[in-house]
């Protein structure tokens, strides 16, 4: 149908819109039509535009309109099963009714008493396994270079109108399946001090904006109310990715007495059989090279990002991220988001924003629990699609976070987002 055709959505054109709207161009603008349509950054007023009114039905409404069926008038209609039309997973029981807290009050920036909103902490989370390398170093450095952290102040001014973002670097001390050490926190800081890529960030100047945090899987899973009573029963499938389960041999009993967490500290804190083949997959660290890449740590990080966002709020970023500009306006938009898996209508959770203790998080954890704790992005895409909840986790276009992706998969070759390097001249 002609009417449904849109102009081609080239990443390159999108980048132009984003650049101009954000004032990132050099001011030499070509006059074009429809520029008002390109403005995408706004400020909100303090007050509501409309008081909730009960008499809106009197206002003439266009028809057809998106209005739901009116409240049931007959008995048969009111007794319709609210679960009608939803298919239960084979062999699973209905989950118990979830009790959710009352909704938070929507507070625009202009009506907040302080620039930071406690309900929407500006926290970046990153997850790293093994020794610190140049990769997370670059992520941290680019964070300091681009975000409005105010580190040029000796004492950060109390009356600053800016909510400074913070960065929590989560360090998973060992390979995903190894046993934690009771002195893990001290060891972590000792290793960071000795590591040339990490030690600069331990300087007191960064103390308010960068924090190194020790990741402990047991503690983290116990901190998720939706999981804490049930995850231990799933330890066989804890390393589940897209339905592919890697089982970790249970040696916890042998080491039971030396466990820092005492009883029930199992699963990802298991010791492992060190046969050559198992060691291959179970105990590699995530940072050596692409060829000896720790599959378990990747699977663990698939889950960790949801745990961190749900427990603390904020934005999770994969460790290969470099910030290119200030994320102020993205923080301003308070819904959950991830981005798109290239051409597919699936999520890539390399960037993931969720609110602290959100209902979306509750839904995802309860659903994942019934699906072997599978947090592979493709599986998460199925959870939200099947439940018609995709609107709650916006799938942002690749242009925002990985503008070259479509092009490297042979899309939009005729109009690439950046010019190609056709030759390399070395003088």
């Amino acid at each position: 149908m002609l009417g449904s055709l849109r102009s081609p959505q080239y990443v390159r054109d999108c980048l132009e819109v984003l650049r101009l709207g954000g004032g990132l161009d050099n001011g030499k603008r070509t006059r074009r039509g429809q520029m008002d349509d390109w403005k995408y950054i706004y400020l909100e007023g303090t007050n509501s535009t409309e008081e909730p009114s009960t008499s809106t039905e009197d206002i003439p409404q266009p028809n057809p309109i998106r209005r739901p069926r009116p409240a049931a008038t007959t008995e048969s209609e009111s007794s319709i099963d609210p679960d009608a039309g939803l298919t239960r997973k084979r062999g699973a029981k209905w989950d118990t009714q979830v009790v959710l807290p009352p909704p938070l009050k929507y507070r625009p920036y202009s009506s907040q008493s302080a620039p930071c909103d406690a309900e929407n902490p500006r926290l970046f989370h990153m997850f790293w396994t093994g020794p610190f390398t140049d990769k997370p170093y670059l992520a941290l450095l680019s964070f300091l270079f681009t975000q409005n952290t105010g580190i040029h102040h000796h004492e950060y001014p109390h009356d600053s109108p800016i909510c400074r973002p913070r960065f929590w670097m989560w360090i998973n001390p060992g390979p995903a399946a190894s046993i934690p050490n009771p002195n893990a926190l001290r060891d972590m800081f000792n290793q960071l001090k000795l590591n040339p890529w990490a030690s600069p960030f331990l300087h007191p100047r960064f103390k308010d904006v960068i924090k190194f945090k020790l990741w402990n899987t047991t503690e983290q899973l116990d901190g998720v109310p939706e999981l804490k009573d049930e995850w231990r029963a799933m330890k066989e499938t804890l390393f589940n990715s897209g339905g592919h389960v890697i089982s970790v041999p249970d040696k916890a009993k042998e080491h039971g007495s030396s466990h820092p967490g005492g009883n029930g500290t199992v699963s990802m804190t298991l010791a492992i059989n060190k046969t050559a083949e198992e060691e291959d997959i179970l105990s590699r660290t995530g940072s050596k090279s692409a060829s000896s890449y720790d599959k378990l740590s990747v699977i663990l990080s698939d889950m960790a990002r949801f745990v961190l966002c749900h427990r603390f709020g904020g934005i999770y970023l994969d460790a290969d991220t470099i910030f290119l500009r200030d994320w102020e306006e993205l923080w301003g938009w308070k819904g959950g988001f991830a981005y798109r898996w290239s051409r597919l209508e699936k999520y890539n959770t390399a960037v993931l924003r969720m609110n602290k203790g959100s209902a979306l998080g509750t839904f995802l954890f309860r659903t994942a629990l019934k699906n072997g704790l599978d947090f592979h992005p493709m599986t998460v895409s199925r959870y939200t699609a099947d439940a018609h909840l995709e609107g709650l986790l916006l799938r942002l276009p690749d242009a925002l976070f990985d503008s070259a992706w479509l092009n490297t998969e042979y899309y939009q070759r005729e109009r690439p987002p950046q010019p190609y390097f056709t030759e390399l001249v070395i003088p």
Partner: protein
């Protein structure tokens, strides 16, 4: 495999209803959620409805029940900013305005890649402009 197999419904629709207050998009709520009223949405400003002339719409007695449910914006007014850097201060972009918000509805409108539409549209333009020669094959 049946695609609905993955989901165990959690707490009926409560999860959605609760979270709806934080749905920042203009997109309607899918009809499958089964909302019975249009909820108020404090995250979006009130949207004037464009009312089409009566001759183009069915009589008011006809109920359209097979539609998604929109949310009624009751949020604060938005002021869209004109952010420009002018020479000579163009080496570095300006810091974003504290508290400013990216309207992701606009971003989606300009940036969401839709494979089918792009291909169809491109080929339509090519065909209409006579840029390709359509060779008909005789039986």
């Amino acid at each position: 495999m049946d695609i609905t197999q993955a989901v165990v419904v959690v707490g009926n629709f409560t999860a959605y209803l609760w979270y709806l207050r934080f749905s920042y998009l203009l997109d309607p709520v899918p009809k499958q959620i089964g909302l019975k009223t249009s909820p108020l949405n404090p995250a979006i400003p009130s949207q004037p409805r464009t009312i089409i002339p009566s001759r183009y719409r069915p009589p008011p007695t006809v109920l359209t029940t097979d539609e998604d449910t929109d949310t009624r914006g009751v949020g604060p007014k938005r002021v869209y900013l004109d952010i420009q850097s002018l020479p000579p201060s163009v080496s570095y972009p300006p810091r974003p305005v504290p508290g400013s918000v990216a309207d992701l509805d606009v971003v989606m409108k300009h940036c969401d890649f839709s494979e089918g539409k792009v291909d169809l549209c491109t080929s339509l333009v090519i065909c209409n402009a006579g840029l390709i020669k359509v060779t008909t094959v005789r039986p």
